[in-house]
């Protein structure tokens, strides 16, 4: 067997260019399969990670402009600001909570602008969100020091704030030192002052890279939603997030809440409600990815078949060219099986070498592709082993016929062949 492999190596070395051209089909087929699979894997895993950050079980609900309204307007940019009567009010939220006991947590958030928190010459960029107690749970905020915004803070419309450990570190040197301080934030319109009650652990969003320098990185800070609303002319909300209790069927729940909200907005001519969950988003993304991979895999499969036929063709040529040599080998006592193995080994060597070059090329392409999409590159040993086995199979499958043809040659006819 090893003997045969070495033999086949010699004849391939003698025809380098031809061997390479023969391998090309396999190289293209294999490399595209590998590239697509690794980019697909990288994307799926990064999408999964991103959704996991948002909270896979969260249901986002809210209101948006009716589709007919948007297309009716001459420009989507002329989007109207919803009036308070169009927004989801506190009363409606309470009604919804009592209507749906499966809601475990309801998370509210209200944009309260952005600015620079300053202390002497030190500063930190922050965006301010008015939140309720449920926000921390829905968004998996991890506390590092102190406490989060509580219901009491909201009732009292207190001027308290929870900042990121980045902000705490930048201004006060440590999380502990930050607690209890009065932090001053300079926004475009005003100078605001809050008492720091807690510090949370900042988690860098995956797949984003460092966009701003570390020092200038903008992190969220949280104040009671009521405090944020105090400055706002609107009392209602445009969006919120609910987390159902574990064990709730997410799809059914989302449907129910969607119907409930639609009724609420039935008579509103400009605005409608929406409700969706990340899980179904993720599933549809995944299935789209699968379809895409399948399509490329089909194309690659065709390339591989063409490559295999190329191997078969070159093996047939090689058998014809070496008919006399086959005759000599038979005269020396080679059995049919010896000749067959020799040529199958040659075909396998061709296709596996093509396969290995294809894998290398595919991984490089996959790596570049993943990086371009900002996804993390995952190297799967199964794919590599699978591909090597597959190219071996191609060699055997397409090499067998020519090899068998060589083996079945009549010794004297082969020997007399010029």
């Amino acid at each position: 067997m090893i003997e045969n492999l070495l033999l086949s190596l010699e004849s391939l070395r003698a025809n380098k260019m031809r061997s390479f051209l023969t391998m090309l089909g396999i190289i293209i087929g294999i490399s595209s399969v590998i590239a697509v699979i690794s980019v697909g894997n990288a994307m799926t895993s990064s999408v999964t990670n991103q959704f996991a950050e948002f909270g896979i079980n969260n249901v986002s609900i809210g209101m948006q402009m009716r589709a007919e309204e948007i297309s009716g307007e001459f420009s989507a940019a002329a989007a109207k600001v919803p009036k308070d009567s169009d927004r989801i009010s506190n009363e409606q939220i309470d009604a919804m909570l009592s209507r749906f006991p499966e809601i475990e947590t309801l998370s509210l958030s209200e944009d309260a602008g952005r600015g620079k928190a300053k202390l002497a010459r030190k500063y930190s960029n922050v965006s301010i969100s008015g939140v309720n107690a449920g926000y921390a749970k829905a968004n998996k905020v991890k506390m590092a020091e102190g406490r989060y915004v509580s219901d009491t803070d909201i009732k009292g419309t207190r001027n308290v704030i929870v900042v990121s450990d980045r902000t705490a570190d930048a201004l006060y040197g440590s999380n502990k030192a930050a607690i209890g301080n009065n932090m001053i934030i300079y926004t475009d319109k005003a100078i605001k002052q809050f008492t720091i009650i807690g510090v949370y652990q900042y988690a860098q969003p995956s797949g984003m890279g460092a966009m701003a320098s570390d020092k200038d990185l903008e992190t969220s800070s949280y104040i009671p939603v009521s405090t944020a609303k105090k400055d706002s002319q609107y009392k209602g909300f445009t969006s919120l997030t609910v987390v159902p209790r574990t064990g709730t069927d997410l799809t059914v729940f989302t449907d129910k809440i969607s119907v409930y909200l639609s009724k609420m907005y039935e008579k509103n001519k400009e605005w409608e409600s929406y409700a969706y969950n990340m899980k179904s988003e993720l599933e549809s993304t995944n299935s789209m990815m699968k379809t895409l991979s399948l399509a490329v895999a089909a194309v690659a499969g065709i390339a591989l078949i063409v490559g295999g036929i190329g191997v078969m063709n070159i093996m047939l040529v090689s058998v014809t060219e070496r008919t006399h040599e086959i005759g000599v080998r038979k005269a020396l006592g080679a059995k049919d099986a010896h000749i067959r193995t020799q040529f199958v080994a040659e075909a396998v060597f061709l296709s596996v070498t093509g396969g290995l070059i294809g894998i290398t090329l595919g991984l490089i392409l996959g790596f570049i592709g993943s990086k371009l999409m900002g996804a993390e590159f995952v190297l799967s040993p199964y794919i590599i082993v699978g591909t090597v086995l597959f190219s071996m199979f191609i060699g055997i499958f397409f090499g067998y016929y020519p090899a068998n043809k060589a083996a079945k040659l009549n010794p004297i006819d082969a020997l007399r062949y010029e």
Partner: protein, 234 residues
């Protein structure tokens, strides 16, 4: 050793082009004989030798090798016979290209399943016997005709066969080199006690053989002792 009775070889049998290349050959060769086969070109010498070498089958007639009828053997059994019992030497050397002299000599042993170490030891020994030990890493295209033929003879001896079949082994060589190769055959005959069949167009070389068989138009027309019974070149 070799028992041939009424062997006929026809091509294009049953067509208007039918030709009878061997026309009822009877030949008996005992173990250890050195037989020269002579005759005009196209008389059927090579055809006869290929049948003896189990490379080809007769159209009719019987052929027994060492008491076993060849006709009833399958492809693998015939391969086995060619591998173990017979060593071929050809006019055009027929060394495997891009394989060193050593590899070429090892090849019959590869097919016989001899272990690599033993194979290489035996191949080196045979090449040394042929005076080719200095050239064993050379490829065929780096060797002269005489050197190639010596490698080919070493290869024919690899599995220590009973019979050496040589089809015009000196045909492609000048007379001096041809004589040298003939010496080797005579030596193999004398020292290794091999049965040797030797096709040649040279009456001079044929006369050196103890027995000379003449073929004409597919028939044996004469079968007599050569003049030099001693078996050495002067």
């Amino acid at each position: 050793m070799i028992e041939i009775r009424n062997v006929v070889k026809r091509y294009f049998a049953g067509t208007p082009n039918e030709i009878t290349v061997l026309d009822g050959i009877d030949l008996h060769i005992a173990s250890g004989e050195f037989v020269a086969i002579v005759g005009q070109s196209g008389s059927g010498k090579s055809t006869l030798m290929n049948i003896i070498g189990a490379l080809d089958q007769p159209s009719s007639g019987e052929y027994e090798l060492g008491g076993t009828p060849i006709q009833r053997m399958n492809r693998d059994e015939l391969a086995q016979i060619r591998n173990r019992k017979i060593g071929f030497v050809f006019q055009s050397f027929n060394l495997i290209p891009r394989n060193s002299a050593l590899k070429n000599v090892e090849l019959p042993m590869v097919y016989a399943g001899v272990k690599p170490a033993e194979r290489s030891r035996r191949a080196k020994e045979l090449l040394a016997m042929m005076g080719m030990d200095e050239r064993m890493d050379h490829q065929p295209n780096e060797l002269s005709g005489g050197q190639k033929q010596r490698v080919a003879i070493a290869r024919a001896l690899a599995n220590n066969p009973d019979i050496i079949l040589a089809d015009e082994p000196t045909g492609a060589l000048d007379s001096k080199t041809g004589n040298l190769v003939m010496e080797i055959f005579l030596r193999i005959h004398r020292e290794e006690k091999k049965t040797i069949l030797f096709i040649t167009h040279s009456t001079e070389l044929a006369e050196l053989c103890p027995r000379v068989v003449t073929v004409k138009d597919g028939r044996i027309v004469s079968d007599k002792a050569g003049s030099n019974r001693g078996g050495t070149l002067s």
